[in-house]
């Protein structure tokens, strides 16, 4: 007994840390914005501290003594009205201090609002194999309290409710269901939002996986000239291989633009062909072309699916109407020659560096160089902008 006492006397640090100096109530409460709170700080009598020497701070700011209430010799309260939303997700720090500023105890306040009903819930399936869904927080978005979202789904006419588990696809407010999805039968899907102040549930959407199918962009997109026709180009592409066994009729869209333009022109009436001729183009001009696919009629369905992403841009140029005259004495054609010569020099330099020599020389290689040139112009411009912003 005596040895225990000695131990306690000679190890004050252990003793003082094993019993709390003071206790605040409530501890870590969740509160509505605009509400009031009365908190109490009760000091252990052994500390010998009197409550009228203590004070409160909230997020580092001392609270006026007019808000305090003396409960007892070792208990002090504080009343806060019309609370503002929390300043950080880890909670606002309400701290009780002794006269010299030492921290006696603390409590973290979580001030916010219950979540509102999530909205704009949409889902899509990639090649009928999986299901991805996204939604938007309701109202003005998430309040200051951490909100958890759970995507739930069940087969409409039978089956148990299941929860989506993979929220880590990188984008917020999305979830991914990788497998074990039934076809030809509708699902009911919804999102539940919850935080410490309440919950809210989105509207339920009903869908059949086969009605929300998207696929990969077409591959092997080739753009080529139509003989010497200076206003036309032919575009050819492959149908997405992932859906080749599903007996569907895809429809396609093409868009194209001039090399130096940002405006795309859309060709919408391509149907289910895998080639198309673009006409009415400008001669001697480089065009960028993209194709995308919509899987229609999967497993005999007549409904359209969801458009895929656009394919990577493919470049091609239309022929010039007149071939350049070599050896001409016309000053204008001379200027054209020097411009052409300069361009050719740049092109050959690029070929040596990037294309392993001239063995695969073709007009396609020239087009690839034009694409690369435009990309590097854009990069230089972006760097320029970034540098300007840094200077500012």
């Amino acid at each position: 007994m005596i040895s225990m006492l000695c131990l306690m006397l000679f190890v004050p640090r252990v003793f003082s840390s094993s019993t709390q100096v003071a206790v605040i109530f409530p501890q870590d409460p969740a509160l509505w914005m605009g509400s009031s709170l009365t908190a109490t700080c009760t000091v252990s009598p052994e500390r010998g501290l009197h409550a009228n020497t203590m004070y409160w701070t909230l997020n580092g700011k001392r609270l006026p003594s007019s808000t305090y209430g003396l409960l007892s010799t070792n208990g002090l309260s504080v009343t806060l009205h019309r609370l503002n939303g929390s300043q950080q997700q880890s909670g606002d720090n309400l701290v009780c201090h002794s006269r010299d500023g030492h921290v006696l105890a603390g409590s973290c306040l979580y001030v916010g609002m219950p979540p509102e009903k999530p909205v704009n819930l949409t889902c899509w399936s990639r090649n009928t194999k999986d299901l991805s869904c996204k939604w938007t927080p309701g109202g003005r978005g998430e309040t200051f309290i951490k909100t958890k979202y759970t995507l739930k789904y069940k087969l409409r006419w039978y089956g148990r409710e299941r929860e989506c588990e993979d929220y880590s696809t990188g984008k917020r407010y999305t979830c991914y269901i990788p497998k074990d999805l039934a076809l030809f039968t509708p699902y009911e899907i919804w999102v539940e939002a919850s935080n410490q102040l309440g919950t809210a549930t989105s509207d339920v959407i009903t869908l059949d996986i086969l009605d929300v199918v998207t696929t990969d962009p077409p591959d092997n997109v080739h753009v080529s000239r139509v003989g010497e026709l200076e206003d036309q180009l032919t575009v050819r592409w492959g149908s997405p291989p992932a859906l080749k066994d599903f007996l569907f009729q895809a429809k396609y869209q093409i868009r194209y633009r001039l090399e130096d333009s940002t405006e795309w022109k859309l060709v919408d009436d391509v149907g289910n062909q895998t080639s198309c001729r673009l006409a009415g183009l400008r001669e001697g001009t480089v065009y960028f072309v993209q194709v995308r696919c919509n899987p229609v009629g999967i497993y005999g369905s007549r409904k359209a699916g969801i458009w895929s992403d656009w394919s990577h841009p493919t470049a091609a140029s239309t022929p010039h109407s007149e071939p350049l005259q070599s050896g001409s004495c016309d000053p204008k054609s001379g200027e054209q020659n020097s411009t052409l010569r300069r361009e050719l020099k740049q092109f050959f330099g690029w070929v040596r560096k990037h294309a392993c020599g001239c063995s695969g020389m073709s007009i396609k290689l020239y087009d690839q160089w034009r694409v690369w040139l435009q990309k590097s112009h854009k990069t230089r411009n972006h760097v320029g902008i970034h540098m300007e912003q840094k200077k500012n």
Partner: protein, 227 residues
């Protein structure tokens, strides 16, 4: 075939010193594996130099880590770091001779690991998922584990006759039981503050150790002579 070997062998003689060296190498090899960490033999100076560089890196990152931590806890968090909490490893390196001090460094590294892990778990609930604090905590944990392994190997190499005790010599590694949020904020700050101070001490200590235990021509014979 044996006749061929017979012709070769009479020319070979193994000196007494070489036999001793071979035995020592065998023992050291067995010891280095038995600790659970496979250590490859490396020159003393370059091993300690590598550990010193790693320590400097972790220390530099710990300064930023503590700063990021404080910013994430809201105002008034400076005071939190000054509160006293039990069971958090202290930053001091103990011991009189190089082997004890090296062992103290190793033990402290191991002792900090569960606390760093606990702080990471707690802050995962308190911070938004995109918070850089979480990745910095994870990096600190991984690097400290790496440093502990390095020190372990160097210790085994330099002091093969001194086993590393299974439990840390400098105190318990138990993390505190469940805490309220305010206590978690305080705990995390104290852990990271002491962690930063510890690394500063390790940096100085490794410099000293390098000059004490690594001479230009340290061999196993010389190392053995220390004892």
């Amino acid at each position: 075939m044996s006749g061929h070997v017979k012709n070769m062998c009479p020319q070979l003689t193994i000196s007494q010193a070489a036999r001793t060296l071979l035995s020592l190498l065998l023992v050291a090899a067995i010891d280095s594996v038995s600790a659970g960490v496979v250590c490859r033999k490396q020159p003393c100076g370059s091993s300690l130099q590598r550990s010193l560089k790693l320590t400097k890196l972790i220390h530099k990152e710990s300064v930023d880590l503590l700063k990021t931590y404080k910013l994430s806890q809201g105002d008034m968090s400076e005071l939190f770091c000054q509160m006293s909490i039990n069971n958090v490893p202290d930053p001091n390196i103990s011991g009189l001779d190089p082997s004890e001090r090296m062992l103290s460094i190793y033990s402290h590294c191991k002792a900090f690991l569960p606390h760093l892990k606990r702080v990471t778990e707690q802050q995962t609930d308190l911070q938004p998922p995109s918070s850089s604090l979480l990745s910095k905590l994870s990096t600190a944990h991984n690097r400290t584990n790496g440093l502990a392994n390095q020190i372990n190997c160097i210790y085994q190499t330099l002091f093969p006759n001194l086993p590393i005790p299974p439990e840390p010599v400098d105190g318990p590694t138990s993390v505190p039981p469940s805490q309220n949020v305010f206590q978690q904020k305080v705990y995390g700050c104290v852990v990271l503050k002491r962690f930063k101070e510890f690394l500063s001490r390790v940096t100085r200590e490794l410099r000293t150790l390098k000059s004490q235990v690594c001479t230009r021509r340290t061999t196993f014979a010389d190392t053995n002579a220390l004892f």
